[in-house]
Subunit: 273 residues, 2 copies
DNA sequence: CAAATAGTGTCTCTAAGACAATATCAC
DNA sequence: GTGATATTGTCTTAGAGACACTATTTG
């Protein structure tokens, strides 16, 4: 009987209705903010790229960049292509987040999405330049669990403030997933996709292997530590952080000069690990 | 321009060619083998469910169970449905492995697959009963890296022996993926899907959270340890293993009687963790 | 000098690996 | 008793967190 089923599937493949397949990409960047105090080092912010939708559904709402899978490309290639189309930049990292396929998640019809988190360096974004009037903007992202066990996601750019509320629930098979309580005017189910993406990003950051993608080839250990602190949203002790990443980096003989304080040595990522 | 693009996509969605979407499921089970020595405890084997294909392509080759996503279900539900159709059993765990979308991976056309690893208890398989003549069989799986840095996958059932060879390669974005060198007569790209699934399974097993799914509600710590050892393909020291899992389990007041040696206490999984 | 960041060393505690020792059954 | 598994305890070591201390710059 299984043979029959397979046989039929093989030869009547075009008779079956097929879903549209998209990728949604949470592109993260860490920005260096303006100094508030001339003597202090600048602050860092984790930022997420959102696109203002030009058409229905969710017209004028903000959404993750993404688009339909094209024939001849992998879903990873599709994700990179979408980010490149929006930003003119190739991301330095691409991390699989998961498949979103719940019926009804997209009012346009049967559409399943492969979600990815990606990383873009501040350096490359600055080279392109940010247009304040563009429909693509880098929102400051804040995300975490509060005392009420709910997760609060805020995305901030200029005077735009999006605030979503989510619950983390155990589904079948003891897997946890985010359920949107308030989408905070974020399009589709993207509040959940963003929450899941940042959760994956934070999980990966624990291995230190991925944080280098936020920085240029040469960097100071303090800058690297700030990346880690900004992603994880927690302070770290510099002595411990340096010990932890020591096996991942190698020294260069260059220094960052011109600051008010002791020059910092520049490091490179070690490849053979 | 982006607005226009989105707009067009919204309203001409049916004009775009869409891929077929399938799930492939690597269903794992741990079997208790016949005692070779009357005084020794029985051996355990990790087994994987394969289906002999009844039609082209890959007719008469062995493949992972799987099938096309149907409207109104999630990809997870599709995976569970496919396993249930093949085995008449609902798995106790379902773990996402990734999306396989490389063009040409399926000779039938543009087909992308969501791969899952799933776990089925030996108990439930025995209740259904295994038919030796069926086109669905549980193969003993062996997988690991040899000295030549290549990965060897062998699947064994009765006098059927499938031997695949794979390389683990860094792709773009520093991700590692398996490349099939010799598919060993396994259908499609399933040798790579199986390798990736077992890699994910072993990674997950390190957290102890998932290994309970191989056993019934009540189990001995020795049985649990054997599950871990069988998945990871390495011996463990019982004292250390017991310490490690102690926070995940709680005692019952029942014992396993009737063996030749000291009765073992039965444990239950602790839920509130 | 002060004030900031850059970088090093050390103490402690815990978790994990190795392994010894004891307990309890059937025969 | 023997021979197997079941269970507990202890020694050691590696790694991570906390924190003190030194170094180097500009003004």
């Amino acid at each position: 009987m299984e043979c029959e089923k397979e046989f039929l599937l093989n030869y009547n493949i075009d008779d079956y209705e097929r879903p549209s397949v998209t990728t949604d990409v949470a592109a993260f960047m860490i920005s260096t903010e303006e100094k508030t105090n001339e003597r202090k080092a600048p602050d860092n912010k984790l930022r997420l790229l959102l696109i203002k939708r030009g058409g229905h559904p969710f017209k004028d709402k903000w959404a993750l960049p993404g688009g339909f899978l094209q024939k001849g490309e992998t879903v990873e290639e599709c994700a990179v292509r979408e980010i490149h189309e929006e930003t003119n930049v190739i991301p330095t990292a691409l991390i699989s987040v998961g498949t979103f396929s719940k019926p009804g998640r997209d009012p346009r019809g049967w559409i399943i999405s492969n979600a990815y988190a990606s990383i873009i360096t501040e350096e490359s974004v600055k080279q392109i330049g940010m247009d304040d009037a563009s429909d693509a903007q880098w929102f400051i992202i804040n995300f975490g669990k509060k005392d009420d066990d709910l997760y609060y996601l805020t995305l901030e750019y200029d005077d735009i403030l999006l605030k979503a509320v989510l619950a983390r629930e155990k589904t079948k098979f003891r897997r946890a997933e985010f359920r949107i309580i308030d989408n905070g005017d974020i399009a589709f189910d993207h509040a959940a996709v963003i929450a899941e993406s940042l959760t994956v990003l934070r999980q990966e950051a624990k291995n230190y292997d991925m944080i280098f993608n936020f920085l240029p080839e040469k960097f100071t250990l303090t800058a690297l530590q700030k990346v880690q602190e900004t992603i994880m949203d927690m302070p770290l002790l510099s002595g411990n952080f340096r010990r932890m990443v020591s096996s991942y980096v190698e020294e260069t003989d260059e220094y960052v000069k011109g600051e008010r304080y002791r020059p910092a040595k520049l490091y490179k990522r070690k490849n053979n690990i």
